[in-house]
Symmetry: C2
Subunit: 266 residues, 2 copies
DNA sequence: CAGTGGTCTAGACCACATG
DNA sequence: ATGTGGTCTAGACCACTGG
């Protein structure tokens, strides 16, 4: 009964909590800048504190008044929280609490969903795109394909407890998987596709990890603010004969996950 | 003869270049925000363009005037460039170009310096700290040590072509390396230390990669702006018998490097 | 339509580093 | 003492979203 049915107003309990943390007196500015003190309090409230994921914050003008600062100062605190992925602002709508307190551990040896299932109770996958198209430049290099080769391109989004956590674009050589779509559709499982084409297991060749800042479509898909820092990982799967069968390109919010790469030799 | 001997003034050629890109007319604000257009131009100049690493930019007030915007708008563009690690501001001093255009590739199987040497011509290592101390919490877990075990703690900074790129803190179990310091000092080489203690080679057990935002001392050491996004990697080395001999914790600016994890089974 | 977040201005004070 | 970047204010206009 905490949340009201229409989202368009601030939960009164949450408002109480904001007022409470806003009324704490500030320490001296020389010690820590005003906007950083506000940031500290809000971050605390988002991570450990009483502000739940999905909660809506009061408007910027209102918040600035509550914290007794100018709107710009308020915005600076809020924008840092957005940059960290803890809040998400939607123009014309409002500001919402985004971050889960936990950091998800992903074991790179396993498939992503298996890794997450061990940690999270509720995980959802949306397939945003499944098409046949010419291979991207990256995939051509990674898969060792000809320049005009056709690939099956798949874009998926992993959503954990309501929060988009992982955006992945995969490309598969089309000639290896003539019956991709029909094998995929029953369980939305890539492993099923592999099996249906006589590939009982696969190995991971190499993983490349870089950091960067969210492009437009990445931010949109992950529900992040534009230009938020990201981790990007690209990898290649090989069939038992060592031929590349999948190029994977994944991104997640900088602070959302911990990638574990297991390097013990078998 | 491009750079003057005292750094405290802006290179006149660089000033010319800034003026040139500042005088390009703006597109409509609706299309792209003013501060983003300024950001675009400066980023272009830092990455592809004529602004060299180490170059000093004119002051914020001056730049704001050149670009015909308020100081706040100018600051917003500059601060995004700082966040990306392309610029570095020093209070009371000025703003300097920081980023190299290249992204350094680090092969996780090799030692860091070997990886870099293949890419960069000029690499320098500074040992910031080399002490014996009680193990950190992280190291106790990673190395499987007792709670009061002593470690040799080493903090090093890798500087590539004048830019700090990689900050690493290592901890070694003290009882395994009684003659650490004397074995290390000739070549500043950890491999030498291993050999001197009868460890001809080592293996990497596991690598954990997370993202985050620079703490105070991390930002200071890497010459970054406070709270700049970072990549952090922790790993454990094992001796041939499988006992942990080193806990490593490294950080680099988000966009500086590309980590390559090789997972081919031998 | 009203309210939201996004942008921008002009002006001010501060702490800091350098000469 | 000067100039630097860092912070903060008060006020304004815009584009977008929702009822």
């Amino acid at each position: 009964m905490k949340k009201q049915l229409n989202i368009d107003s601030v939960d009164s309990d949450d408002l109480e909590r904001i007022i409470q943390i806003a009324n704490v007196p500030y320490r001296s500015k020389g010690e820590r800048a005003l906007w950083l003190q506000i940031y500290d309090r809000l971050a605390e409230a988002c991570i450990n504190g009483p502000l739940e994921s999905g909660a809506r914050l009061p408007g910027e003008n209102h918040m600035a008044e509550l914290f007794s600062v100018s709107r710009l100062t308020m915005r600076k605190a809020l924008s840092k929280l957005q940059q960290e992925g803890q809040l998400q602002a939607r123009k014309g709508v409002g500001i919402f609490v985004r971050q889960r307190r936990t950091r998800y551990v992903i074991d790179d040896d396993l498939r992503f969903s298996q890794s997450l299932e061990a940690n999270a109770s509720e995980i959802d996958t949306k397939t945003l795109e499944l098409t046949r198209a010419p291979a991207s430049r990256e995939a051509i290099v990674a898969l060792g394909m000809g320049a005009v080769s056709e690939v099956i391109r798949m874009v998926r989004l992993r959503i954990v407890e309501g929060e988009p956590i992982y955006l992945t674009s995969k490309e598969f050589p089309a000639d290896r998987f003539p019956r991709f779509e029909e094998a995929f559709s029953p369980n939305q499982s890539v492993t099923d596709v592999y099996r249906a084409h006589g590939i009982p297991r696969y190995t991971r060749e190499e993983t490349r990890i870089t950091g960067g800042f969210a492009h437009r479509h990445e931010a949109d898909a992950l529900g992040l603010t534009h230009r938020t820092p990201l981790m990007r990982v690209s990898s290649v799967n090989l069939d038992p004969e060592g031929r590349p069968i999948e190029f994977n390109f994944g991104r997640w919010p900088l602070s959302a996950v911990e990638l574990v790469v297991n390097q013990r030799r078998s």
